[in-house]
């Protein structure tokens, strides 16, 4: 594949990533008063998606591997933030399930009873 075509393939989706970054920043700004943690995560995701999209655009223009590596690095940070956020949610779910284990046991017993019926 030619270098220019390769650049297009690699940086494809950069425009969509940029659109997502702007929307994510708007969503974060709108929900800051109602849900601060989700808003901060949304803003952080938006910032790193923006950095990744801008680096991808530079890569498409100039073809330097440094910009490509930067774009991939920022996209990796984007996914790390998302992973940490959802792992924390899972831990919170597990924490409340342990805290209210009597209610969970009751739900489970009625669930099993319904299955047997």
């Amino acid at each position: 594949m030619q270098s220019s075509k390769l650049r297009q393939v690699v940086s494809s989706g950069g425009t969509w990533q940029l659109t997502f970054a702007i929307l994510s920043l708007i969503a974060g700004a709108l929900s800051i008063s109602s849900n601060a943690i989700t808003a901060l995560v949304s803003v952080a995701l938006g910032i790193f998606a923006l950095l990744s999209a801008l680096a991808a655009r530079k890569y498409e223009d100039m073809g330097s591997s440094t910009h490509l590596a930067d774009s991939l690095k920022y996209e990796k940070i984007y996914f790390i933030i998302a992973v940490v956020y959802y792992v924390l949610i899972l831990l919170a779910v597990a924490f409340f399930a342990i805290l209210y284990r009597d209610a969970v046991n009751l739900w489970w017993a009625s669930f099993i009873e319904a299955v047997n019926r």
């Binding site: 594949m1 270098s3 390769l6 650049r7 393939v9 690699v10 494809s12 989706g13 969509w16 990533q17 659109t19 997502f20 929307l23 994510s24 708007i26 969503a27 709108l30 929900s31 109602s34 890569y59 100039m62 073809g63 330097s64 591997s65 440094t66 910009h67 490509l68 590596a69 991939l72 690095k73 996209e75 990796k76 996914f79 790390i80 998302a82 992973v83 959802y86 792992v87 899972l90 779910v93 739900w107 669930f111 319904a114 299955v115």
Partner: protein, 146 residues
């Protein structure tokens, strides 16, 4: 088809912007985190399926003439549709991570093209979901103000 070795030169010499050792290492790390993210998505999907089963049993336990049963059926069908969509979304993400990993392992262009296609669809879907969440926030805020 394997990419030309001239495109795999080191960072200093003949920087074509293609796949240097540094960028290939970044692809590998990105693939790891994308796959990890999709595994968490599958765990959430499992929790969603449990919730759906709970709804199904709750709906079936209600008597037919109960006015709530109509809403329960609606909620159950809505949850099933949402879970179906979520399954497709998470599978797309898993496919993106897998294609990236295959590219990092083999340096075969076709895996990179597959990965970029999936990445594009992933971001377009995420844009739609984010736009919907913005609309929801605005509509909820307008209800509160009213």
């Amino acid at each position: 088809m394997f990419i030309n070795n001239s495109l795999l030169d080191d960072d200093q010499n003949n920087d074509t912007g293609a796949f240097t050792a540094n960028t290939m290492s970044q692809y590998e790390k990105l693939a790891y985190w994308v796959k990890f993210y999709s595994i968490i998505g599958f765990i959430f999907l499992g929790l969603g399926v449990l919730a759906l089963l709970g709804l199904l049993f709750a709906a079936s336990a209600l008597p037919e003439n109960n006015p709530i049963s109509r809403y329960m059926v609606g909620i159950t069908v809505g949850t099933a549709v949402a879970l179906g969509f979520f399954t497709w979304y998470i599978s797309l993400l898993w496919g993106y991570g897998k294609a990236l990993q295959e590219f990092a392992d083999s340096r075969d262009e076709k895996h990179l093209e597959a990965a970029m296609d999936k990445r594009k669809v992933f971001f377009i879907t995420t844009i739609v979901l984010t736009a919907l969440s913005i609309l929801f926030t605005i509509s909820a805020a307008s209800q509160v103000i009213r």
